[in-house]
């Protein structure tokens, strides 16, 4: 009823309207070279307060993350995505950090203290409890957008809360995931046929300027954002 009324009103209102052509959108010509993109990403991400670690080789990535863990808390509680790179780096970095503990959020069934008779909602609430109590969340970005210093995060097979609830967020990403601009990232995503319920673009730590336009970093989301940008070791 309301649907018909609204849509009829829209149709009537536009009866004489001419639809102008869709604009041609600017597309980055040839994708610039990886080093150029990495430098641009680091510069843009740096201006919004993201801490970028450019490292060569997996070992260096693990050391970088271990250093972040050690600097965050004495016995940091860590949650991580189950994606291959995040899992590998998180596992090794936690092993290298005295007192650190790791929970890989890979399946609701692994939530600690779960009784198999529990209903799914309770299991999920328990998982969110673990994520919310963590000091550090480790994720893996699908793409990095150089022009705006942005991480593109997927949801499939993952818990969104890992990049949102802990006060420190560390994203690990291989530098072949760098793209020039947002348009390119969205086009790539569409080409993969991703069916995630939510794609999240993250550009810097959470922030506000609602009081006298003063910038305060760390409102509801993470206060600190690290990106570990992983280049293959130079041969």
């Amino acid at each position: 009823m309301a649907r018909k009324t609204v849509l009829d009103a829209v149709r009537d209102a536009l009866a004489d309207a001419v639809v102008p052509p869709l604009p041609r959108l600017a597309r980055a010509s040839a994708a610039p070279d990886r080093h150029v993109l990495a430098a641009r990403f680091a510069r843009e991400a740096g201006t919004v307060g993201t801490i970028v670690h450019e490292v060569e080789g997996l070992g260096a990535a693990i050391s970088a993350v271990a250093a972040v863990l050690a600097a965050t808390a004495t016995s940091p509680r860590v949650v991580a995505w189950p994606t291959p790179l995040a899992r590998t780096v998180a596992t090794a970095a936690v092993a290298a950090t005295p007192g650190a503990s790791l929970h890989i959020v890979d399946d609701a069934a692994t939530a600690p203290g779960r009784d198999p008779a529990d209903d799914l909602a309770a299991v999920r609430a328990a998982t969110t409890d673990v994520i919310a109590a963590a000091d550090v969340g480790i994720t893996e970005a699908e793409y990095l957008v150089a022009d705006s210093g942005t991480l593109v995060l997927r949801a499939a097979g993952r818990a969104r809360g890992v990049s949102l609830l802990p006060p420190v967020h560390v994203a690990v990403v291989a530098c072949d995931r760098l793209v020039a601009d947002l348009g390119a990232a969205l086009a790539h995503l569409r080409a993969t046929g991703a069916r995630d319920s939510c794609i999240t673009l993250v550009t810097g730590p959470s922030r506000t300027a609602d009081i006298e336009k003063k910038l305060v970093v760390g409102v509801h989301g993470p206060c600190t954002l690290h990106v570990v940008l992983l280049a293959p070791p130079e041969a």
Binding site: V10, P20, A108, C198, T200, V202, T203, I211, V219
Partner: protein
């Protein structure tokens, strides 16, 4: 904010115009916004071409709404979401209320949504004994203060840090004279427990793509992500004008909205929501609802001149740029949408007879049009409202005579010179004997809050002639 009372605009504006403390607060924030906006646009390559492109995206989308809306509905439904249609505010509130009561929701966390202010959702929820908590810091502050927001982007722009510290001391038991950091930390603490306890999250929608059915939510604090991730139900509120045709159209819009709104290249967070949690996802809502609202927008749509007001991205730049807004603030407008764009859309959404003063709350300086990312010609639209309002009132013979006389004088240089000479003489007398101004009632009204200008001793046209005589090449 309940039913908008925009009708006593003059009284509210006059009160605010005398409030020097308010001016200071508005100037501090808006001028900084404008400054940062100017810097980030100066650094953006081809900024003007990008604005043209963004306008073209919206122009195409608004003209194609009849096909894009059903397409969005179809895609969003195929993705597992539920679409609801609302003709007006009451219907939209009833839809949200129905979803909440059916699921037994007692607590709702809200991301920033201007539509929610427009339909007065909080009052509707409160009437049903459902607690609604604003979670954007600025919205949370004004909710604690029991006030409506006074700016599209910075809801608490009319409050200073000390005002907020006093408020938090009273309402949350925080120490007095707290810093902005401490106040923000207090809000984070209080609201974390709300996010975890809420049964429903309500957000606005900045853009929607008909192609994929994705809803785009733009924010900086992470409260929007919380609201659309943690509660079991996510309800997104959207005006019909938010849909664009393609996913790739989102990029040019996302490029301009944060730059215009807050001087950022991109906000901290942008969520592209396509539906409820998939089976392999470990969190996210089980239900996602989209409420598509008309509430007078099809009246704007049916009006070929006013239609372009629907291109608005709600970036707030025109508020910051407006010298009138910076003197009276958002509350004076008496409506969720204030400033220049509020003065354009309120007459259509609320009925022009209720807010007939708003189109006059402008100097027509054009600053709003200059900063608008989609180049909405706001001064032109305000003039159009004025013309329509004026046309509806029969002119008095005195006014008609005055206009006719002016037309004759302005068209004849000799008459014009005589008339301005007489004016100059009259103003010189009034300047010496100010009491005389009170004798002329229209002049007295005009002088309230204004200084009488002093005329130059020698008029421009004479100086111009002398210059031309002195240097015959006209340089």
């Amino acid at each position: 904010m309940a039913a908008p009372a925009a009708d006593d605009f003059r009284a509210r504006a006059a009160a605010a115009a005398g409030d020097a403390a308010l001016h200071r607060k508005l100037d501090v924030a808006s001028l900084r916004f404008l400054d940062e906006r100017a810097q980030v646009f100066a650094a953006l390559p081809d900024a003007e071409a990008r604005r043209d492109r963004a306008r073209a995206v919206k122009a195409h989308a608004i003209a194609s709404l009849a096909t894009l809306l059903p397409q969005l509905e179809q895609r969003f439904t195929a993705n597992g979401g539920v679409v609801h249609w609302a003709r007006d505010a009451a219907e939209a509130c009833a839809i949200v209320l129905d979803i909440a009561t059916r699921a037994g929701v007692r607590l709702v966390v809200k991301g920033k949504s201007m539509v929610s202010e427009e339909i007065a959702l909080n009052a509707a929820l409160a009437a049903a004994d459902i607690e609604a908590v604003e979670t954007d810091l600025g919205e949370y502050i004004v909710q604690l203060a029991g006030e409506p927001p006074s700016h599209i982007i910075t809801p608490a722009i009319h409050l200073s840090q000390d005002d907020v510290a006093d408020l938090f001391a009273r309402r949350l038991g925080e120490p007095r004279h707290a810093t902005a950091e401490a106040l923000t930390a207090a809000a984070r603490r209080v609201l974390r427990t709300k996010f975890r306890a809420a049964g429903m999250g309500v957000t606005g929608v900045n853009f929607a793509s008909a192609e994929s059915g994705a809803l785009v939510v733009v924010e900086n604090e992470g409260n929007g992500r919380m609201a659309l991730t943690l509660p079991r139900i996510h309800v997104a509120l959207m005006g019909i004008e938010k849909v664009v045709a393609r996913d790739e159209d989102l990029a040019p819009m996302l490029e301009l909205l944060p730059r215009s709104a807050t001087g950022q290249s991109l906000t901290s967070y942008v969520s592209l929501v396509t539906g409820p949690r998939r089976p392999d996802e470990m969190d996210g809502p089980d239900e996602v609802h989209l409420v598509v609202l008309d509430n007078g927008r099809t009246r704007l749509l049916a009006d070929p001149i006013m239609r372009e007001a629907l291109y608005c991205l709600r970036c707030g730049a025109c508020l910051n740029a407006c010298p009138v807004y910076r003197r009276i603030g958002g509350h004076a407008y008496g409506y969720a949408y204030s400033g220049p764009i509020g003065a354009v859309i309120a007459p259509a959404l609320l009925g022009v007879e209720r807010v007939a003063d708003l189109p006059y709350a402008s100097t027509l300086c054009g600053a709003c049009r200059d900063v608008c990312p989609v180049r909405i010609d706001i001064p032109h639209l305000l003039l159009e409202w004025r013309a329509r309002i004026a046309a509806a009132v029969p002119r008095s013979w005195g006014e008609r005579l005055l206009v006719r006389a002016w037309r004759t004088i302005a068209a004849s240089p000799p008459l014009y010179h005589v008339a301005t000479g007489a004016m100059r003489a009259a103003f010189a007398v009034v300047a010496h004997v100010p009491a005389l101004a009170a004798l002329l009632p229209p002049l007295a009204a005009w002088r309230r809050g204004r200084e009488l200008p002093t005329f130059a001793t020698r008029p421009f046209h004479r100086r111009w002639r002398e210059r031309r005589v002195a240097s015959p090449d006209g340089a």
